[in-house]
C-alpha cells in the first residue's frame, strides 16, 4: 500500500446532543463517495460507541479514546499526534476527530486543521453568547435542527453568532436529511493538508487558542469547599482570580 503524504484533518466540537455525529456521518459518506479514504476518531469522557457505528456503516478505520480523569480537550492534544500516525499508516487521506466539547474555555482546534463547531438552533437564541472559544476559534459554525425552530429564531440565532464571531462562516444544515452538508465537505478538502516526511512523521502543529490557567489545588485532589482552603490561582465570589501563596 502506498501511503499518501498529505492528510486533511477536521476537528469537530460542540455541546452534547447537537448532532456532531450526524453531521460527521454525512460528511464521511460524501467524502467516501468522492473517493477519499477516511479515518474517524471519537474522544469522549467515559462512554462512546460512534467508533463501532462508523466501522459498521462505512467500513473505515475508526476508534475511540476515553479521556477519563483528563480533560477531553487536553486529551485531544495528547493523542492527536498518535492519531495522525495511525490514520496515515492506515492509508487514509482525511482524519475526522469528534470531541466531547464539554469545556467552554478551551477549544480543540489546531492551526493546521479545519475546525468546526456544531450548535443546535433549538438550544435557545443566546447560546452563541455562551460557548466561547469553541465558537470564536472555529472556521465554520454548523447550525443543526433548523427545521425545528421558527424562521424568526433561526435568524436571531444566526445574528447572535455573527455578533460574537464575525469571521466564522455559518452553515445551516438539516443533519437528519443531510441538507447543507456539501459545502462542509468542500471546506474539509480545501483545508491545509498536513504533510508527512519519509519516516511517516507529521509536521508540527499548535493549538489555536490559549488554554486557560489549568492547574489548581482542586485539579490535584483537594476537595474542601471554599477558596480559603486552597492556594495558587484562586477565585472568590466577589473578586477576580488572584494568587494566594508564596
Amino acid at each position: 500500500m502506498k501511503l499518501a503524504n498529505r492528510m486533511n484533518l477536521a476537528i469537530c466540537a460542540g455541546p452534547s446532543t447537537t448532532g456532531k455525529t450526524s453531521v460527521l456521518r454525512h460528511i464521511t459518506g460524501k467524502l467516501i463517495a468522492a473517493g477519499k479514504k477516511v479515518a474517524f476518531l471519537k474522544i469522549d469522557v467515559q462512554f462512546a460507541e460512534e467508533d463501532v457505528q462508523f466501522q459498521r456503516e462505512f467500513g473505515i478505520p475508526a476508534r475511540k479514546v476515553y479521556s477519563g480523569e483528563l480533560c477531553p480537550d487536553h486529551c485531544n492534544v495528547m493523542v492527536l499526534g498518535d492519531a495522525l500516525q495511525w490514520a496515515h499508516k492506515a492509508g487514509c487521506d482525511v482524519l475526522l476527530v469528534e470531541t466531547a466539547g464539554l469545556c467552554l474555555r478551551c477549544s480543540p482546534y489546531v492551526d493546521k486543521g479545519f475546525g468546526m463547531v456544531v450548535l443546535e438552533a433549538t438550544s435557545g437564541i443566546n447560546l452563541p453568547l455562551k460557548v466561547g472559544p469553541m465558537l470564536s476559534l472555529a472556521d465554520v459554525a454548523v447550525v443543526t435542527k433548523i427545521d425545528r425552530v421558527s424562521q424568526a429564531e433561526r435568524e436571531v440565532f444566526r445574528a447572535r453568532i455573527q455578533d460574537v464571531a464575525l469571521s466564522v462562516k455559518i452553515r445551516e444544515v438539516n443533519a437528519l436529511h443531510g441538507i447543507g452538508i456539501d459545502p462542509l465537505v468542500s471546506h474539509v478538502l480545501a483545508s491545509h493538508a498536513i504533510t508527512f516526511d519519509a519516516q511517516g512523521r507529521h509536521e508540527s502543529m499548535l493549538l489555536r487558542g490559549n488554554p486557560p490557567v489549568g492547574t489548581c489545588t482542586i485539579c490535584v485532589g483537594k476537595k474542601e469547599i471554599g477558596w480559603q482552603s486552597h492556594f495558587g490561582v484562586v477565585r472568590a465570589l466577589e473578586d477576580q482570580t488572584f494568587y494566594r501563596g508564596e
Binding site: T122, I146, V149, S150, A152, A159, I179, G180, D182, P183
Partner: protein
C-alpha cells in the same frame, strides 16, 4: 429584487437525466411538490438552499433571474433563499408575541412597529383563535402557532421562497391562506398531497426516484374540480369541528355541504 428562480435539470438517483429541462419559479407563484417518500423532495430543497451549480449529488443548477448567483449567495446564510416551515417547526421562545416579533423585525431593520402589526393581522386571518401581542408564545395553540409561523415568514423574513412542508393539517384556513399569500411577492412552495392546495397551485412538480419527472400545470379541467373539492373539504372540516365540540353527527351536514 429577485424576479425568477430557475431550476435546471440534473440527474435522478439512477443517474438518468431529468426530462424537464428547466423550471422557472416566478414571484407570486404558488407551487406544489408531490411524490412518495424517498422521491427526492428533500434533495430538491437542498439544491435550492445551496444555490446548487452542478456541485450537489443531483448535478442541478439554480439560477437567479436567469444567471448564476454570485458565490456569496452560497456562503452567507443570511442570503439563504428559503424560509422553511415543517410539521416540526415551532417557537421555542417564551416571550410575549409582540416582543418576540419585534426582536425578529429589528434584525431585519425597517419599520418595526408596522411589520409587527401586519404580521399579527395576517396571522389573525388564518386562524379562528384571536392572536394578541400580549399572549406568550408558549401559550399558543397549534393553529395559532402555524398561522404566526406563516405570517412571520411571509412578512418579516426577506427570503424569496417560503417552503411549507406538509403543514396543511394544522388548523389554518388553507383557502384563505393561499389567497392572502398570493398578494406577497414571494414564491410559495408546498410539499403536500392535499387536493385543495394542489388545485390552487399554479403547477405541481412531480418527483420520483430522486428526479423531477414532470411539471403539471393546473388546467381548466382540473380547476373545474376545485369547487367540488372545496365543498367536500369544508364539509369534512365542519364534521371535524362538530366532533371536537362533542356534538353528534347526522346526514344534514352532508346535505348542506351538497355532498348528498
Amino acid at each position: 429584487m429577485i424576479e425568477t428562480i430557475s431550476i435546471l435539470a440534473g440527474r435522478n438517483k439512477k443517474g438518468e437525466e431529468e426530462p424537464v429541462g428547466r423550471i422557472d419559479l416566478k414571484m407570486g407563484d404558488v407551487v406544489s411538490v408531490v411524490g412518495p417518500t424517498g422521491s427526492g423532495k428533500t434533495t430538491l430543497i437542498n439544491d435550492l438552499e445551496l444555490f446548487a451549480y452542478g456541485n450537489t449529488p443531483t448535478g442541478r443548477k439554480v439560477l437567479i433571474d436567469g444567471v448564476r448567483p454570485p458565490p456569496e449567495y452560497g456562503e452567507d446564510p443570511a442570503l439563504n433563499p428559503i424560509a422553511l416551515i415543517t410539521q416540526h417547526t415551532t417557537f421555542l421562545s417564551d416571550l410575549p408575541v409582540g416582543e418576540f416579533l419585534e426582536t425578529h423585525a429589528r434584525i431585519r431593520g425597517g419599520d418595526v412597529a408596522g411589520a409587527v402589526q401586519n404580521t399579527l393581522a395576517f396571522a389573525n386571518q388564518l386562524t379562528g383563535e384571536p392572536l394578541v401581542p400580549t399572549i406568550r408564545m408558549t401559550e399558543l395553540s397549534g393553529g395559532q402557532t402555524r398561522s404566526l409561523l406563516i405570517a412571520d415568514a411571509a412578512i418579516i423574513c426577506n427570503t424569496p421562497i417560503v417552503l411549507l412542508d406538509e403543514v396543511e393539517n394544522a388548523g389554518i384556513h388553507r383557502g384563505r391562506a393561499l389567497e392572502l399569500l398570493r398578494k406577497y411577492r414571494k414564491i410559495f412552495i408546498f410539499v403536500t398531497h392535499d387536493p385543495r392546495i394542489a388545485l390552487l397551485s399554479d403547477f405541481r412538480i412531480v418527483m420520483q426516484s430522486g428526479g423531477i419527472t414532470k411539471v403539471l400545470r393546473t388546467d381548466d379541467s382540473e380547476r373545474r374540480l376545485l369547487e367540488k373539492v372545496t365543498r367536500i373539504d369544508d364539509t369534512l372540516t365542519g364534521l371535524r369541528e362538530k366532533i371536537r365540540l362533542g356534538a353528534e353527527l347526522n346526514e344534514m351536514e352532508l346535505e348542506l355541504g351538497g355532498i348528498l
